[in-house]
Amino acid sequence: MTRGEKKQLRSGLAFTSLWIIGLGAFTAYPVIASLYYSFCDYSILKGPVWSGVENYQQLVQDGLFWKSLRNTLFYAGLSVPLGTAVALGLAVLLNCEVRGKSAFRLLFFMPSIVPVVASAMLWLWIFNGEYGLMNGILNPLLAPFGLHGPAWLADPAWSKPALIIMSVWGTGNAMVIYLAGLQNVPAELYEAAEIDGASAWQRFIHVTLPVIAPVVAFNAIMALIGAMQLFAQAYIMSEGANGNGNASDGNPARSTLFYTIYLFTTAFQDLRMGYASAMAYVLFIITAGLTWLAARLSRGRNEDAI
């Protein structure tokens, strides 16, 4: 390294030192410390005591760990494809040359910038079994069959589907990314397909989708990571609809006990920081594994398409 390069390095380090210190103190250290704590009996106020793999052994035997994982995978398994389909569909529609296109784009994007708490309160009302908007629409349709809309968040069978439906509310971000992807599809491909007699649906399947496949993969992976970390909406809405004081237990009957909610209560109600750290690392491994799988599958499909 020349003298000039050394000087440049020093300057670079000096300029980035604040970020490096911040990363080390507020990200790297907690990540490494929590890995150590995951092998300890640790309650935040008392010193950690090494307990080997006990926390991980307990996780395997913990019925609630599996229940929360099942709930989370159920949510992710349905909300990610649904969100992807809705966001992509909206993007395709909003990519058409219609009057007021910008206004429609703004309208569909706006929900994604509404704060989580505010939208959760709104959806609490929408899902109210008696006075809510959802049953206000469903009940007249179901009435001829002698049926009534479900109690949604107060019913263990419908609480997760309610949250999945709500997740569509925040697809604005993905929609914008899809829009950008759609605008990059070469127009001549559509023209060639049209000349070949392809219908609109065939053009979408055989032209649009293959070209924007990397964008779909990116959005799907991001949505998957977000779904695995679902917390705020479920925490607020399960408490709001079935409030049991301080329980934070995915009410009713733990039907909305998602992984991060169980992790949170374990850490901050039961003060089992070691166990919660082990849960965090297991979630990290699961999410990383699913992300790798999704990326691998999408890469394979992209290669096939090409």
Binding site: L45, K46, Y131, H148, N242, N244, A247
Partner: protein, 471 residues
């Protein structure tokens, strides 16, 4: 114009001349150093969960305490929401407030986590034994303040939960509004008579009682049925048959009303502290609520014709059963001014037993008078006794002193336990499981948790000192 110090015009005031002199800082430092240490008051930081009228009441007590001496100033900081978690995190971070207003169910967990200062030493420094100190409270509140043989808290606000009923709905159902159900059998009968269905749809329009409203303390039905959650050694959620019977009773309401009916009917309920709360709208005729409920009735449903009475006898001979709760004052470990914080706890847990006027009220009685609640202490002053504006204060005093008053067990895994109770409660009332299945599942989990918890205390060298936790 610039005027150099030392060259002031003759008309310049002499005092200002001195102030502007370059020698001033040095002189001031010398003078200050020579003076005896000024007796500046110690500021005690106090975190509390209240806002609204409860905060204003506590502020009045603080003002009176601050004015009563010149050594300590208590500063109130509103920490509405999650005060337990906030206190825990700052205590772990080594910068806790001097005082924190927690809930009684936090005491055992926080004490076992070594997050609280025991108050025993402070009490003994007052020339009292802890037994003498605790003997001043009604026994149930004395129990709330202690864990593992140590005193960890003083009471800020005591609560007693009991039966509230809608007298108008009683009349409409042909029941005597002045005679609440005296036994469990009567309670069930009243509940049935007070329940109405829409004749066309069959849907519920009014119920006598619904166990999940308000749903904050589903464990209390176990104690009411003569059961219990902890015997001093082990968790007894499913092993105590009275608990299973209580949950079977809970399930019977859903079976009688119909599951879909209950789900839809309860969807109509507004928040408990709002005009659309089911008791206020006449959808539910009987609820178990705390002595604070009268304040909310007068706020959200003024003019409601309601009655307050003891819990019906679920176990023959167990009269005046009651549930007690309390907001508590604790000193987090590592507090900067524990002695001064103790002075305020002491003040809030003492009274002027001879108070004849509002101005003479002190400490606990002043706070409880302003919050329209009862005092946790056995001795009440003449003014507090005769001028308490709570319309049913005599009833709550009777229940607080009852030997059958119960509170949450002081057990370190309470939050985990509570979640299991809530989960079993949900499963049972939603007909998802029989009481035996639901409680049995929770018992298995709690047994494992309790074993793990004791092992953790042993690892940290605490179990021997703590021993078996008294019930």
């Amino acid at each position: 114009m610039q005027i150099a110090a030392g060259h002031l015009p003759p008309t310049f005031p002499r005092a200002l001349h001195f102030r502007l002199s370059p020698k001033f800082p040095l002189c001031a430092a010398l003078v200050l150093a020579a003076l005896p240490a000024a007796a500046a008051p110690v500021h005690v930081t106090y975190w509390e969960k209240w806002n609204g009228f409860e905060q204003r009441a506590m502020q009045a007590v603080i003002d009176k305490f601050n004015a009563s001496q010149d050594r300590i100033v208590v500063d109130y900081y509103d920490q509405t929401g999650e005060i337990d978690r906030k206190t825990l995190v700052v205590t772990a971070g080594g910068d806790p407030p001097d005082l924190a207003g927690l809930h009684e169910q936090n005491i055992a967990t926080f004490a076992d986590a070594e997050a609280l200062e025991p108050l025993d030493g402070f009490i003994e420094a007052e020339g009292m034994s802890t037994a003498q100190w605790l003997d001043r409270y009604y026994p149930i509140y004395a129990r709330i303040c202690t864990h593992g043989g140590h005193v960890y808290a003083g009471i800020s606000t005591p609560v007693v939960e009991t039966l509230y009923w809608n007298r108008t709905l009683f009349r409409e159902a042909g029941l005597d509004p002045d005679r609440p159900p005296a036994t469990l059998a009567e309670f069930n009968e009243y509940a049935r008579k007070l329940t109405k269905h829409d004749p066309k749809t069959g849907r519920l329009t009014q119920v006598g009682f619904l166990p999940q409203d308000p749903g904050w303390w589903p464990w209390i039905f176990c104690d009411w049925f003569g059961g219990g959650l902890y015997d001093g050694h082990d968790v007894t959620f499913a092993t105590n048959k009275a608990n299973v019977a209580a949950y079977a009773w809970i399930q019977q309401f859903t079976k009688d009303y119909g599951l879909d009916n209950v789900k839809l009917f309860s969807s109509e309920f507004g928040p408990w502290a709002s005009p659309s709360a089911p008791f206020f709208t006449g959808k539910i005729a009987m609820v178990f609520q705390g002595c604070f409920y009268d304040n909310y009735i007068s706020q959200f449903k003024p003019g409601l014709d309601y009655g307050v009475g003891p819990w019906p006898e679920a176990v023959p001979g167990m009269k005046d059963f009651a549930m007690a709760e309390a907001d508590v004052l604790v000193i987090p470990r590592g507090a900067r001014h524990p002695r001064e914080a103790w002075e305020f706890i002491k003040y809030c847990n003492s009274t002027n037993p001879n108070a004849q006027t509002r101005e003479e009220l002190q400490g606990a009685e002043l706070l409880d008078y302003l919050q329209v609640k009862l005092s946790p202490l056995k001795v009440w002053s003449p003014f507090f006794t005769n001028h308490n504006s709570h319309p049913h204060i005599a009833m709550f005093r009777r229940l607080a002193s009852s030997p059958h008053a119960v509170c949450v067990p002081q057990i370190g895994i309470w939050m985990e336990y509570y979640r299991e109770v809530v989960s079993s409660f949900d499963r049972v009332r939603l007909l998802d499981a029989t009481p035996e299945e639901a409680l049995g599942y929770s018992q298995q989990r709690l047994d494992a948790s309790w074993t793990r918890y004791k092992r953790s205390l042993e690892r940290h060298g605490q179990w021997a000192a703590l021993g078996e936790t008294p019930r």
